[in-house]
């Protein structure tokens, strides 16, 4: 078995409908800071790591499980991720 290593980037954001106090604070301040015309600011988080898996499907399944159970909280978050097999 030749295990592969994947470069992963996970993006975690608050679900629509969950108020983002950091995004609101930034959004409210932007005009007076000289950045007019910007609305609906949402702040998220990016987590990068390398993961071992036999193939891309395996990597996808491991990352999804990690996000479901740990990196994101399903009560408030949604997540997307990208995989790069040229790690």
């Amino acid at each position: 078995m030749n295990a592969m290593q994947f470069n992963v980037q996970v993006e975690i954001t608050l679900r629509d409908g969950v108020s983002d106090s950091e995004g609101v604070a930034i959004g409210n301040s932007l005009p007076e800071l000289g950045f007019p015309g910007i609305d609906e600011v949402r702040v998220g988080r990016i987590v990068r790591f390398l993961i071992d898996a036999p193939d891309e499907a395996g990597a996808r399944s491991r990352v999804t499980d990690l996000c479901d159970r740990f990196l994101a909280n399903p009560a408030i978050h949604e997540f997307t991720f990208t995989l790069d097999g040229n790690a």
Binding site: V18, S19, S21, E22, A25, N73, A75, I76
Partner: protein, 201 residues
């Protein structure tokens, strides 16, 4: 019979000593438990305040994967009382033992104040300290404590919720046990939780 209260020590449970002092004050017995324990024999489990694992990722996220969570889950399923205070509440939501989640306060600030809350089951009003950055409750849990002047922005002004025999409160009854602390309202509230628990109406 004296109630045995197991207080869990996670790395960063800075509220452990306050919780232990309050538990002894109400006449219960303190059993120190570790986050790596896989079993225990106590009547009540208490997860104290603080910042387990430095609040890395999200408050409670790492602690929710601790070995001790499984025996806590069994204790709760058997109807045993579980109390989470502050960070302990956050850990219980992250572990799925209580519904919902705790988000950064609406103000974006760490809120520290003596606040008024109402016990929804009795109508009683209490003065208890709040000290948290992530105290904004989001979810549909049954409210046990409601903020009367909510500084967090919680849904329905929730300051504490209950599900089955599991209770989570963002205010700190264990820090309101002496006149010098500005309130003694925590004594009777904590005593009642330890002696009889609080179950979903």
């Amino acid at each position: 019979m004296t109630r045995r209260v197991g207080i869990i020590r996670f790395p960063g449970s800075t509220g452990f000593a306050d919780a232990a002092e309050a538990v002894r004050l109400v006449g219960a017995e303190v059993h120190e438990l570790d986050h790596t324990d896989t079993g225990f024999d106590v009547d009540v489990v208490l997860l104290p305040g603080g910042a387990a694992h430095g609040d890395a990722l999200r408050p409670g996220a790492l602690a929710a994967l601790s070995p001790v969570i499984e025996p806590i889950r069994r204790h709760a399923e058997a109807g045993g009382t579980v109390i989470g205070i502050g960070n302990g509440f956050q850990i219980l939501t992250e572990a799925g033992l209580l519904p919902g989640a705790l988000l950064p306060n609406e103000s974006g600030r760490f809120e520290t104040a003596m606040v008024r809350v109402r016990v929804e089951t009795t109508g009683e009003e209490l003065q208890l300290p709040l000290a948290a950055g992530h105290a904004r409750y989001h979810g549909d849990g049954t409210i046990l404590l409601r903020h009367l002047d909510d500084p967090t922005g919680s849904e329905h002004d929730a300051a504490g919720i209950v599900s089955g025999s599991v209770v989570g409160v963002m205010v700190h009854p264990e820090r309101a046990i002496h006149d010098l602390l500005g309130s003694t309202d925590g004594i009777a509230f904590l005593s009642s939780l330890i002696e009889t628990g609080a179950t979903t109406p």
